[in-house]
Symmetry: C2
């Protein structure tokens, strides 16, 4: 049942209002007012979630789409070692979008927001002429000058990754091939891990694995002016990616390709000086050492004793 825009706006405003007491001092107004603690820097990130580009309504549940919409922003805050404080959602809905779909989208988004103690503090609404269009803004905070950057990696530093990689890409591969009709993947942004790494000064550098390990590691190397060598056997491949077995162009192995180039895992890739002891688990999440920062500019992978250049094969958002 299509909803008139006015009704939708009122509905969103009620939803926004109900969760707004913690940090947003104002909601009926033109802007949200946020009060940050003294001596904190503000972190700001903005991420699109566009139907047909980042998700498909026939492939994922509304709850999953809502969850992933917010997870994209939260993961950026996690990568800087920050604490998210407020989210802002711009949401444009087409006339074929039902009230039930919108309710379930919000249910997914707000469930994650509650778990990560983030307030949905504002946003914008509009009619969309084609597809559901969402843009999430997350504002976070971090003690002044302590944010984890992409530019701190040095020769000899160790490369680590949280959790397992390739689950989102494995689902997407099956969906694209028509082997399954629907698949929900709910990546959990690694907020607690990022904060722990920053507060304990373990990581010199961090990024979230949103575009794929090969691309995100290349970004770190470019920003830091270094190279890297990772070990294929060390990459923590998600079980759902492993099911596919060998035969991939880049590494001869589908599972490894999904983990290296898949993207949208929202795990953290971080670099720690060799003097720092990195625990096996942080905030309940498994940590895996996958390689080392080296001199030079290239990112290489060692597989079955042979070293080859790992090309950045960044995430190409799927198309409808």
């Amino acid at each position: 049942m299509p909803l008139p825009e006015r009704q939708l706006i009122a509905q969103l405003r009620r939803k926004l209002r109900s969760r707004s007491r913690a940090v947003a001092l104002s909601l009926g107004d033109d802007c949200a007012i946020l009060r940050l603690p003294h001596d904190d820097d503000a972190l700001v990130t903005t991420d699109f979630s566009l139907e047909g580009v980042h998700f498909r309504r026939d492939w994922q549940s509304p709850e999953c789409i809502g969850h992933r919409c917010l997870a994209r922003g939260l993961s950026d805050i996690a990568a800087m070692g920050g604490r998210p404080i407020a989210a802002f959602l711009s949401l444009a809905l087409p006339s074929d979008c039902s009230q039930k779909w919108v309710d379930r989208f919000f249910a997914g988004l707000l469930k994650l927001a509650r778990r990560q103690r983030v307030v949905l503090a504002g946003g914008d609404t509009a009619q969309s002429l084609s597809g559901v269009l969402a843009d999430i803004v997350v504002v976070g905070r971090v003690e002044r000058g302590t944010a984890l950057l992409r530019s701190g990696a040095k020769k000899g530093d160790q490369i680590h990754v949280t959790g397992k990689l390739g689950e989102s890409a494995a689902a997407l591969r099956l969906l694209s091939a028509g082997k399954i009709k629907r698949r929900d993947v709910f990546p959990e942004p690694r907020i607690a891990v990022g904060e722990w790494l920053r507060k304990n000064r373990i990581a010199s550098t961090a990024i979230d694995v949103s575009d794929g390990l090969s691309t995100d590691l290349t970004n770190i190397c470019q920003e830091s002016g270094v190279g890297a060598v990772i070990e294929a056997e060390a990459i923590p491949v998600h079980p759902s990616a492993k099911r596919d077995g060998p035969r991939a162009p880049s590494t001869g192995h589908v599972a490894l390709d999904l983990a290296l180039h898949g993207g949208e895992d929202y795990e953290l890739l971080f670099i720690a000086p060799p003097s720092r002891r990195v625990p096996r688990r942080i905030a309940g999440v498994k940590i895996t050492r996958i390689g080392e920062i080296v001199r030079g500019k290239s990112v290489k992978i060692v597989q079955e004793g042979k070293e080859s250049v790992l090309r950045s094969r960044g995430w190409q958002h799927f198309r409808s």
Copy 2:
């Protein structure tokens, strides 16, 4: 000539980077880092500009669309009496969008940004399957607890408006009727006026005229729990709206209807206690007293000696 997404992203990143030194401490990273002065509150606002909903590429120049995209956000900061510090642009482009169009869009947006001393500090890029999709986020600042809200209006307070109303609506009317092919309107967000009103404690309440005077005044009355009476003859109607003369359903007068209900003027509507002396001009902008806050809940208009209820006939974004 369509641009591949990767090239566009690189291009946007360069543009973002070149203007980022003032407040954004970090740009190659997952988030922008903003450092606000101690004792300031942060203001955050987010506004869509969607092709076919908020603009049309065949009706407006790319420079005008870029200008208006940023103006929407800046105007919200002005309404709170704040100073904008950074903008974030999420921009999704369809394959039929040329490099030249994008360059000219940015030229319009960045010209306004420079004039209002706002840094374009980040954003997101994506491919769009249909139309140009932009979402602008503006972060501003204001001394703690001093932001102008919508909820401060009291009985006896005087209602004022900056500049003239109805220019955007008059252009839209001619475009919709096919009487003109293209028309650029460049509303200037009233940042300096908003700041002056707040710092000199002249206004108790403010809003920007984005949805149309009738809707925005109704919003103030609802948030403040008051009513209002405005005088038709006092409304400052823009010359381009005046050309049309009489014959409108609401007031019997097209020009007045455009000024009352048109929207997208980005002037400020503000309320001042009777004890405050409001200058005729603030920061070079003409100020006009148009009415008074009264007890009750309804918004009324006096025209040729007769009082009638002024219904909120909010801005309906145009459709393609």
